[in-house]
C-alpha cells in the first residue's frame, strides 16, 4: 500500500506545482501597502488582471492574461482593445490594476485611461469597475 500512497502524493504535488506555474496572471510585485489601511475589499467576482511589470532595464510592460505589451501608446491601445473585448463578453468584469510601489504614475495612468476608453467602446451601462491591488502589511 505504501508505494501506492507515495505515487498518489507525488502526483498531487506535481499537479499543485504545475497549476502554480500555469497561473501567470499574477507576476510577483511589490504592491503598495498603505498604513494605516482603509477598509478594503477582498477581490471577488470576474476580473481581468493587468499587471505593470518592469523588465529590469528600465522598460515597462503591461501584462494581461499571459501576454506582454510594451508600455507605450501602441501597448496602451492594444490593452484597450483587449479590455474592451472582455467587457463586451462580460460587462461585469472588474479591471484589477497591479503595479509595484515604485512604478511612476505616467506608466500606470495609461492603464486607467485604457480601462475608461474600453468601457466607452463596450458601451457599458455602468462605470468601468477598477480595482487597485494592495497588500496589507504584517501587523496592520
Amino acid at each position: 500500500m505504501t508505494p501506492l500512497i507515495d505515487v498518489v502524493f507525488l502526483l498531487i504535488v506535481f499537479f499543485v506545482l504545475v497549476s502554480r506555474i500555469v497561473d501567470e496572471d499574477r507576476p510577483r510585485l511589490d504592491l503598495p501597502s498603505p498604513v494605516p489601511p482603509a477598509t478594503l475589499i477582498s477581490p471577488q467576482g470576474p476580473k481581468l488582471i493587468v499587471s505593470v511589470v518592469s523588465d529590469g532595464s528600465g522598460a515597462w510592460q503591461y501584462h494581461l492574461a499571459g501576454a506582454d505589451m510594451t508600455a507605450n501608446r501602441d501597448g496602451a491601445e492594444m490593452l484597450e482593445r483587449s479590455v474592451a473585448a472582455q467587457l463586451r463578453r462580460a460587462p461585469e468584469t472588474a479591471i484589477q490594476v497591479r503595479a509595484g510601489q515604485t512604478t511612476p504614475w505616467e506608466i500606470v495612468s495609461p492603464v486607467l485611461q485604457a480601462a475608461r476608453a474600453a468601457g466607452r467602446a463596450a458601451a457599458l451601462p455602468h462605470p468601468v469597475r477598477v480595482q487597485l491591488a494592495t497588500t496589507r502589511r504584517q501587523g496592520t
Binding site: 507515495d6 498531487i12 498603505p34 478594503l40 477581490p43 504614475w105 486607467l112 475608461r116 480595482q131 491591488a133
Partner: protein, 158 residues
Amino acid sequence: MRLHAREARRAGGGLVLNMAPLIDVVFLLLMYFMVATDFSPAEEVFRLDLPASVVGSQPDPPDPLDLLEEPLRVRLTAAGSSGQAVRVQVEGPWDVTPSIKGLGDFLAGSVIPQGTLLVAEHPIIIDPTPSVSWEHVVAAFNAAVAAGCTNVTLETAS
C-alpha cells in the same frame, strides 16, 4: 509489514518495524503542505469606478450654501532629491499640511458629520504628476477613503 514481521519471527528475532516507507509518506505530506501553503501576503483592493465621461457628476448636497460644489482636486508632486517623497496640495483656500497625513487629517475634519465642508459622496480627484510613484498615489487614495470619502477617483484625462 506482515511479511516483514513473519520473516523476522522465522529468523528468531523480534518484531521489526520498517520505518523507511513511513518516513517517505511523512516527507511527502510535509512537501505537499509546503507547496500548498501560500506564503505571499493576501491581496486586497480599492474599488474605483471610472465613468465613461470625465468625472463631473455632482452629488446633491443637503445645503448648497455651506457645502463645496466643485470636485475637490488633490495634486501630488514628486519631492525630495530622488523624487521619493511626495508633496500634497489641495486646490482651494484651505491650509493643508502638504503631506499624505495632512491630506487625511484635512479630509477627516471636513467630511460630514465630523466637518461641514463636504458630503461623503463629494467627488475627490487625485491628480498626480507623471513622476509620482504609485505607492504615493495609493497612499493618497487610501487617506481619502479612510477619511470617509466614497467618491474618490484618479485623474485619467490625457
